[in-house]
Amino acid sequence: MALNKSHRQTAMDAGLISCHDCGKLMDGRHVPQNGHLACSRCNADVHFRKHQSVPTTWALVITAAILFAPANLLPIMQVELFGSVEYSTIMDGIIYFFHSGEYGIGLIIFMASILVPLFKIVGMISILLSIKFKWKRWLRHKTKMFHFIEFVGRWSMLDIFVIALMSTLVEFGSFTATQAAPAASYFAAVVVCTMFAALTFDSRLLWDA
């Protein structure tokens, strides 16, 4: 692919906007009176850069970081066995798998419900800081990391789905029953916040610095 004549000219420099939904390139210099320019093809709102991207992403990432604590410290599941109730946190479930020798599954749950959310929060914070302080190094790696964060976000829902299935299937009257516990809500909120953070963030801002 050939670079444009003047090296490293962005679409914004040329007064062009590319639609985030369909990729169409259009002239962005004549914004209508109401301030909203719509894509001529798919009618999505188009902007040179996503509106209020950095503050919104900061807010969502900080919210996720705060909610991450109760999500991990409170119990996420309660198991009733012959009348006695036992609560377990996310980490308890993982340790249980390691004790019973099922390392593969233990590792999958550890990655999906602890490592991935943590990586997303830390990764987004480091990207946001690098915009704030205009760090111009490792731009390509940061972009790749952002794509990875976008891709991996949905997989943290794994634990929620497991609990939903367990509480439906393991329901043997008074002998044993499984139910969700408060951390499930916090954990779901963490997943939603980090996924929205990836959506509101505009990776083009990294390259503008």
Binding site: M1, A2, L3, N4, R8, Q9, T10, A11, M12, D13, A14, L16, S18, D21, C22, G23, L25, D27, R41, C42, N43, S100, I105, I108, I109, L139, R140, T143, K144, F146, H147, R154, W155, M157, L158, D159, I160, F161, V162, A164, L165, M166, S167, T168, L169, V170, E171, F172, G173, F175, A180, A184, S185, A189, V191, M195, S203, R204, L206, W207
Partner: protein, 218 residues
């Protein structure tokens, strides 16, 4: 002043906004941004026909996958069975509303909407039937790709089976196999989908239909 034709020959990298000359690729070759190495375009063969076929197959599996029982557990002389929809109802009864809504959207509603949209859009492109809403629909499908999570759910089913198999004997029911097929079809639509090709076909269809209209009025 930028000429319209000049704009048509350029594209901007979605990740770093670098302005590039648009070039056409051979099937199976990928285009990457020279600055940030983001995948710009991956050309796929016969995208519209494939998406039509696969989304139709996916829709056929949808109802049994969601409403038929997945697994039957046998323990202590008791039997327990459940479907994806039961799992949603179970959370609803436990009054975790945020989780319930999320569960409903990601595992039940969004996969259905996305498959239906892909089916409608590819069918109408195939039979050349234009309607204004196609652009909006296809845009919605693009956004739902990330939020529909049947594939994550499948891994969750496997994790649950490993959790349960020591304390109960497990029977696999129709719902389980249909759900696997639904996940496969959903993934297959993603890998067969060539958004650029769809957008161009939609543009062409729009122009053709407006030409037909103006000819008809004369």
């Amino acid at each position: 002043m930028i000429m319209k034709s000049a704009i048509a020959q350029q594209i901007a990298c979605p990740a770093c906004d670098l302005l590039l000359q648009n070039i056409h690729t051979v099937n199976g070759r990928n285009l990457f941004c020279p600055r940030c190495q983001t995948l710009l375009y991956q050309k796929k063969v016969d995208s519209i026909s494939k998406v039509l076929a696969i989304s139709m197959a996916g829709l056929l599996f949808y109802i049994p996958a969601i409403f038929m029982p997945l697994l039957t557990l046998n323990a202590m002389g008791m039997e327990q069975t459940g479907s994806i929809f039961d799992a949603f109802l179970c959370f609803y009864n436990q009054q975790y509303f945020l989780v319930t809504i999320l569960l409903f959207f990601t595992s039940i509603l969004f996969p259905l909407i996305r498959l239906s949209i892909l089916f409608t859009v590819s069918l109408q492109l195939k039979i050349r039937l234009y309607s204004k809403s196609l652009f909006f629909l296809f845009r919605t499908a693009h956004h739902l790709d990330e939020w529909g999570m049947p594939d994550v759910y499948l891994i969750a089913i496997i994790v649950s089976i490993i959790k349960i198999h020591k304390m109960a004997s497990i029977e696999y029911n129709i719902g389980f196999f249909c759900f696997i097929l639904l996940v496969l079809m959903t993934r297959a639509t993603t890998s067969a989908l060539d958004p650029e090709c769809f957008w161009r076909a939609l543009d062409k269809l729009k122009i053709a239909s407006s030409n037909r209209k103006s000819n008809g009025s004369k």
